[in-house]
């Protein structure tokens, strides 16, 4: 087997995820308690934000303009490609296509974390402002997809604007944006004290992540029974679309001057499908969209694909596209 792929498949993250799936398939009743699941995800996001903030503090915003622009571009393009592909090629109705588009137009923070961990495991490092890009990619795709859906279906659900306030002020955004600001402000002396607890390369972060991935495996495994219900088109879509979006993200990231590691992470973000922010937003604004379709494709197809294979693929694309110099990280973190 290819060595990059192998390294990824034997990582604690991928194996813990696989174990969670297996636990579910043998009908174990084991699952992480709800509050522990929430607690770990709060910790992971807060650590990510803080670390991003301190890195911004070091490297500044120099060079962030272009990557930010292509990230926003991805946020506008990916919901549209998803919608068009599903309607034209897949023959899906407007509500279902828009609902799925909201998921693929947004981003999965856990997949992002896995990509960050992966490139660090490769001995390289993405640009320090990647968490900033994550916050930029979170909501535009949801916004656009819901707007299309509301127009096409007559908008029988809750008004999009109201729901968007919830997306923008949700846990992920508060912790990431807030963490970025706090990390930026506290300075090195304060950071050093808490660094072993929050360092995203550290044992605490990586260890907690394995426990979190167990539960992600359980959640994904619980949806496997629904794979039969979504039909062959969506099965293929859940793998091919991420590859296309991932390649597009890597290419745009490389154009914008990101390192290979950074381009890989941006590609992963584009390829990933939200399963935290998007589902409730879609459920209340597009009631006719079938939740089995969007949840199964995001959680039981695209998420496992990205964790187990996708990230390694996007990294290979990034290495192939990278000019010799850009394969090194643009900013070296001290």
């Amino acid at each position: 087997m290819d060595s990059i792929l192998r390294t990824n498949l034997l990582s604690p993250i991928a194996l813990a995820f696989a174990l969670g799936i297996v636990a579910r398939l043998i009908r174990s009743e084991f699952s992480l308690p709800k509050d522990i699941y929430a607690g770990i995800s709060i910790y992971l996001l807060w650590a990510l934000g803080l670390q991003g903030g301190i890195e911004l503090h070091h490297a500044g915003f120099a060079g962030i303009a272009k990557p930010a622009a292509v990230t926003l571009l991805l946020g506008c393009v990916t919901p549209l490609t998803t919608y068009v592909v599903l309607r034209r090629l897949g023959g899906f109705g407007a509500a279902d296509a828009a609902g799925i588009a909201a998921h693929y137009g947004s981003v999965s923070a856990v997949t992002f974390i896995a990509a960050q961990t992966f490139v660090k495991g490769m001995g390289t490092e993405a640009e320090g402002y990647m968490p900033t890009l994550l916050t930029l990619l979170e909501s535009p795709g949801i916004h656009i997809a819901l707007a299309i859906g509301a127009i096409q279906t007559g908008g029988k659900g809750r008004p999009t604007s109201e729901v968007l306030h919830e997306v923008l002020t949700a846990r992920t955004m508060v912790l990431l944006v807030g963490g970025l600001i706090v990390g930026y402000l506290i300075g090195d002396r304060n950071w050093q004290v808490i660094e072993p607890f929050f360092n995203t390369k550290g044992a605490m972060f990586r260890g907690s992540l394995t426990i979190f991935m167990l539960e992600m495996g359980i959640l994904a495994g619980a949806r496997f029974a629904d794979l039969k219900k979504v039909g062959p088109f969506l099965l293929a879509f859940g793998i091919v679309m991420p590859i296309l979006h991932g390649a597009l993200g890597v290419w745009l990231g490389t154009l914008a001057g990101l390192s290979a590691a950074g381009a890989c992470v941006l590609g992963t973000m584009a390829a990933s499908a939200s399963y935290i922010a998007a589902p409730p937003a879609v459920r209340v604004t597009l009631p006719e969209a079938n939740p089995t379709l969007y949840l199964t494709s995001a959680l039981a197809i695209t998420f496992p694909f990205n964790i187990l294979f996708g990230i390694a693929i996007y990294y290979k694309i990034a290495l192939a596209l990278a000019p010799a110099a850009a394969a090194l990280p643009a900013t070296v973190v001290p």
Binding site: R158, A222, P279, P280, R283, V284, P287, P291, L295
Partner: protein, 100 residues
């Protein structure tokens, strides 16, 4: 102990509907509500919650006409696309004048 005869309406729904339903209850004239979290199984199983099967139970004590309006609204607005059940019973409420 003088009590007032009122209706207790119970709605069991997907967690994601909490804001929608409480907003609607207020609009339809309920003076308050109580919510407990739970789980369940039904015949449809349509839902978008991350934890499969989780639901919320919303209860509100209201006058008969308001109860009627709530059930009617639930049947129209929630039943077609959401996992929701709604029912009412008659209860004797202490100091019940507060809820009408």
């Amino acid at each position: 102990m003088p009590t007032t005869t009122l209706k207790l309406v119970t709605i069991i729904a997907e967690p994601v509907l909490e804001a929608t339903i409480t907003h609607d209850l207020e609009r339809l004239g309920a003076s308050g509500w109580s919510i407990t979290e739970g789980r369940g199984k039904g015949s449809r199983g349509l839902r978008a919650s991350d934890i499969p099967g989780s639901n919320i139970r919303i209860e509100t004590i209201v006058s008969e006409p308001v109860a009627e309006a709530i059930l009617r609204h639930a049947a129209e607005a929630y039943f077609p696309n959401y996992s929701v059940i709604a029912y009412l019973e008659t209860v004797q409420v202490a100091r019940g004048d507060k809820y009408v």
